[in-house]
Amino acid sequence: MNLDRTLRLPPEVLAHVFMFSARYDPPCRISTRRAWDRRLRLGWIGVTHVCSRWRQIALAFPALWSRVDFVVGETWANEMFARSKMAPVIVSSMPITGHEFTARDARSISLHLSHIRRVCINAQCNGDFFHWLGSPAPMLNSIDVVAMQTRGYSPPILPASMFNHYAPHLQQLHLEGFCRFPWTSPVLTNIVVLELIDTPYSSQNEALDALARMLAIQSLALCRSFAPAARVVRARRLGLPSLRRLRLEGDVVDCIRLLKYLSLPSMAEIHLLCTAGEEGRDARGLFPVLGTHLEQSTVLHELTYDATSPALQVEVARYPPLPSKRADVTVKLVWDANPTVVTSFIQTSWYYLSPHCVRSVRLNIYPDPPAKRVLEIFGAMRGVERLVADRSISAVICVALATRIDGQDFFCPHLSWLALHDVPLEVLEMLHRVLHIRKGGGTELAELHIYVDLPSRKSVDSLRRIVPVVEWHLSEW
């Protein structure tokens, strides 16, 4: 069914169609039974085989060839580079596509750095693999390179002379698995987003000096990417006027050492994911530093403390701030193999954080901790108003609710909202008795939410006999 000539699309409209095709139907390798035998499927490039007019139109629009994925193989990649002419190009290479990024591919990129806009590479590479970044990159905006570690090889080094010191539009840099980050490179001056993962460097002072030059930086993430302990102590703090998000991940000592030299804008979010020794002493040094930032209205968005292998995590997730500027924060204890660390950490964090934000807590401690330890944890949470707890400690909570010392509630005296998950029936019966005791004195709970797994519909009746509930929300079995 040939087309009426009046319906032939103008070249620019047809090119528009091809742009969509190029975006949504890129070339790829088709998986076969044999992993090494992956056939190339041309995808949108098939339009160049339809007729000579379509082919000419496709070849006449360089922007169509501006996504060079090395999945298509070296020959095709070079052909696409040539057809893109001087249009800004996005280069990618992901091992999942079955193609391994090679030194020859790297050389192809170096020949076209003059019009590459973005590089996204996930490859096995080592040593001086990235010396191909030696020529100027006037259009380069973003680099995202994950250097997969190869057994027996050293991590790759990013040369300080990268791009021959000329990449004026470079704004985003995400590097993973590199050795020595070249903080002194002048191409970092206009960086807006900097993320370093497993990329250590030699000097913290060098890093701070470089950050001081990055006036536009809005997001900084350093994940296990720190310098060894600094010998030189800096006299003043470093201001990062545009920073919106700071993420530090790694040894708590490294995080503290960097955090105390930074001065953050008032609305900057802090994400901390720290690891530390078993005693938790290192972690306590974090809070005075963190407290200084919180006093300046900086928002603590996330705090994870991982005492590694007896593991403990505390996550602090921020909810919309309350009118009084107190953020409603949830602390989640996920794992506890060392209740001493939990107690110590909670006590310290409460001391520094509670005036600022902590109002509600979620406890999920596993495996079941000794009751004595749990009670110590409760003792550290006296300001909490809302509590969500999971199965392992619901029985202990029942005991704590019933306990009074010197006429005062032992357990969270300001608690007005309690939710218990996966409560066993026998604990439920105990809870019922506890609530009778509390009616005799102490603070009343405004809301009590109990989530119970019932073995059958019949057991609802037995539950009714135990606890006369105001409202039922029954899910399907």
Binding site: L3, V17, F20, V50
Partner: protein
């Protein structure tokens, strides 16, 4: 350039906030439409600017049928007052328009109609409609073999047998 004929002001009332335009299709149907609705068309906007410069109102003759023109007006009416990214060439490069559910239903038409609409949108310089149609056509040929693409869009294979089988001439690398 379109053909422009002078019209009587009484035919096209142009006062107040909802000024009207007279569009004349290739099958000589006269369609009156509010100027606001057609403001998404850069072509029409330029014509209106021309009217204001000469203080004369005209009917605008368009080289496509009333059926196609009504579809375009339906599109413009639906998005009246909306800001669409694709209409701002600086804000959105081609190929980045989001899929809009309404557009999908609107463009659920046969191949010839779809091609007529995209040509009309191109003529009227309605970038968002060109983008939506281009996407719909790209979806039609996505994942198809060369032969299937020819079949779907009614394109004749004009490669010589040599070109057909020569990898270099067909860019197969």
């Amino acid at each position: 350039m379109p053909t422009i004929v002078s019209v009587d002001d009484s035919t096209v009332p142009g006062e107040g906030s909802s000024r009207l335009l007279l569009l004349v299709s290739s099958d000589n149907k006269h369609i009156v439409v509010e100027e606001d609705i057609m403001s998404r068309s850069r072509f029409i906007s330029k014509q209106v600017e021309g009217f204001e410069a000469t203080s004369q109102r005209h009917a605008i003759l368009l080289p496509f049928s009333s059926f196609v023109l009504n579809k375009v007006i339906e599109y413009c009416s639906h998005y009246r007052g909306y800001y669409l990214l694709e209409d701002d060439p600086d804000a959105a490069p081609p190929g980045r328009s989001p899929v809009r559910e309404w557009d999908q239903e609107f463009l659920d038409v046969d191949r010839n109609m779809l091609l007529r609409i995209i040509k009309a949108a191109h003529y009227l310089e309605i970038k968002s409609l060109v983008g939506s149609c281009a996407r719909a056509i790209a979806d039609m040929i996505r994942g198809k073999t060369t032969e299937e693409m020819r079949e779907i869009l009614g394109v004749e294979n004009d490669f010589t047998p040599e070109e057909e089988h020569s990898p270099s001439s067909k860019c197969t690398g």
